[in-house]
Symmetry: C2
Subunit: 504 residues, 2 copies
Amino acid sequence: MDIIRNRLVTLAYSDKPKSDEHVVPNGQAAGKNKKKLILNAFIESCSGHQSPGLWQHPDDRSSGFNDIEHWVDLAKLLEKAKIHGIFIADVLGGYDVYEDSLDPAIRSAAQWPVNEPLAVVTAMTAATKTIGVGATVATTYEQPYHLARRLSTIDHLSKGRFGWNIVTGYLDSAARNLIGKEQPQHADRYTVAEEYMKVMYKLFQSSWRDDAVVRDAKRSMYSDPDRIRTIDHDGEFYKVPGPHICQPSPQRTPLLLQAGTSKSGKLFAAQHAEAIFVLGHSPSVVKDNIAEIRLIAKEKFGRDPNNLKFLTMFCPVLGRTEEEAQAKFEDYIQYGSKEGALALFGGWTGMDLGPYGDDEELRQTESNAIKSAVESLSRAAPGVEKWTKNTVARLIMIGGMGATVVGTPAHVADEMQRWVDEADVDGFNMPYAIFPSSFEDICNTLVPELQSRGVFHNEYEVPGGTYRENFYGKTGQKQPLDEHVASKYRWRAGVPKSEARSPV
Amino acid sequence: MDIIRNRLVTLAYSDKPKSDEHVVPNGQAAGKNKKKLILNAFIESCSGHQSPGLWQHPDDRSSGFNDIEHWVDLAKLLEKAKIHGIFIADVLGGYDVYEDSLDPAIRSAAQWPVNEPLAVVTAMTAATKTIGVGATVATTYEQPYHLARRLSTIDHLSKGRFGWNIVTGYLDSAARNLIGKEQPQHADRYTVAEEYMKVMYKLFQSSWRDDAVVRDAKRSMYSDPDRIRTIDHDGEFYKVPGPHICQPSPQRTPLLLQAGTSKSGKLFAAQHAEAIFVLGHSPSVVKDNIAEIRLIAKEKFGRDPNNLKFLTMFCPVLGRTEEEAQAKFEDYIQYGSKEGALALFGGWTGMDLGPYGDDEELRQTESNAIKSAVESLSRAAPGVEKWTKNTVARLIMIGGMGATVVGTPAHVADEMQRWVDEADVDGFNMPYAIFPSSFEDICNTLVPELQSRGVFHNEYEVPGGTYRENFYGKTGQKQPLDEHVASKYRWRAGVPKSEARSPV
């Protein structure tokens, strides 16, 4: 969630209408843009994730993340509703900025403890047929040669249903344990990440020819040495001779996901990302960033801007009536943890609200950073007169820094359409308030509503296909699009070794 | 397989009787030591593993390792026969010593390509109830903080059915890709590995109190900060403040496996290993090492020598009659790959037999290392008059550097008993000649034979239990034995933070 540090500075004024303006007849609120939505469930291998404290709700089962059934059952539930993918976020350290201590996160379970995301993937994909699974893995803490094998292996075992969310990490608490010092500067991390991606593309795409594995017993040849080559990468940060130790997996390069709206993050996304996560409390917040990244992608990297798919974080709290939804929200939020929310806020922004009194008006503190952050938040919730730690906590207690929408399926679908129309998003990355009932509500009530409006598929476009095929809705599109940088590295069947090339 | 470099120097004279001496009436060959055997299947995420070239046999399905069904079906098959565990070997580089090239390994699929072993574990344990899964992970190529999370996560998701085979790596081809230089010296690797283990024990055992996770909604407390502590490791090679990011898993520390019979390897095994892999073509080869490691464990580390379980590599080729078994062996070996065997030999020993002629007597070469290695091999196969590349290849073509025993279930069971009686092994680590039919033969014919002799259990000792409980056959023994070094680190329930201690 690199994105959030930056986000707080640029968070725009909330243009979210009051909920009662959204009660429109079912299916009557078709927006101007009927594009088919991409829907992802957003989770992490921890309890609570974007809803700190809600593990205390009697219906919440999010603490089951240590059990494999928790993951397998979720994958089955979401696949039944034809959700495109399950995205597993990750951090490798604790949120210890608030009160300069990890204790608030420990007590509230604010993304603590956190298991490794890749460990659950193959069990989930083995129990399903089509749904994709994406996972966050940072480039900062492990060698590309090793990570390339970890990711290729999972792409094989999942039959090409794997996505990689590329992050550079943002918690000092992780860096201290892994590289023995504080997190490197933001821009430096992206410089390293750029080289990292080159190594990954060389390993994934250019080290083995598409048809390198021949398994020809007559010639006693399993793989053909003329179709495998070293990559001989000798860069500023990495020296990797190769060759890649895995044969080409179904997608070769997993579907590439990314979240980042800093200057260097945007440039990175514009070149590498196929799915881009954005977040904000209202469409106007993300609109400009989306437009800018699409533009950079087109002008600087020659990509069709429509092939970058933007998913905004969006947490629906659904009820059969507005009243029921509202009551559900009020029931949920009473279990929210203030210190958990402030611990997350501290880790995301680097700002410690610990020193301030419970009733202190944060707009009058001496910290310009905090004043600016709160000013941004206040644009998302213009009704709030006094900004205190409580107000900040309440705003992010369900659904974190993304939009939380409370209402009937029709109301929530209208709101999604508004995000499409106003911010040009392509889909939604949906965290839960309560696990798994928030996802059950989405599958059982929101999905049918979206289907009846014709903005969500009734069946996967490529049942049994890869994540990328279903992501783009194109049979055969297992590997990155021709226009994508990864394709420039690909060693295609039939090309002799002497003619195989990688961009420098 | 560190062990092998060393092994070749000390390989003792083969005392393996000719096969016809082994035809004894079923069940009549009870040895002097009726200890219950531990049986493991031995595989790797590649095709062929210890039987280079046998992927060419029409019945072999070992190339299915990219499919998750390959792994899930194997786990189910072996669990049905009550096999204790499945052990997944690993290398992170190619065997490029022979002919100074990776091409022989590429052509023959000699442990090439190789996927990541951890990726299959949770799918296998989710589809079964009791069988354990162990995997090799080297300490040389990733940070302990990160690996501790990877392993704790899998121990959670497998419900405590995970084992870690600790290796330091032995292939320069891996080191070049991961640490930018040749493999560090053997002794240095073990010095680093010793510190690595301390960090792992601190994270696994001492960072969280057994009862740190309370999930007490009344006190708004998920985990209790008074029961979680940093580890503040500040050593020669690693600085890891902690705390561990995972809550205690069922075994806390996965079952610890190791293979190493160098001087430093023995010392390491004597302190850390619960299961120790050994290998040689005959019991006399491993006997002294086993006795020595048990003695060091007792005298230097205060362990009961019987609590170190030695598993020898042992590849059975089974038939209903001796003739059928022998015919099967001859059928199999015609598919063996000479260059694959020599590639493996090169990687294991560091010796390149490439420069020698096909008919050249290797005992007359100018290399003392090769002469000594071949001399050792010749003790395992005293009938061979002339040692050439072909002889070396044929000796290791099925079952690698371990014993390969061809015969009826009774014959093979006798031979196993001989290993127990003469070398004091506790069990067997069995690779396949042909996948999965070698394992089917083991499950369907050898296991019943061993059961009828009372040397193998008819049911798991702790059905649904952890790997460690079934390994030691003791209900409740989820965590390392009290005498094991890991237990000195354990922060037990009830102990106040101020009294929690770790050995320095």
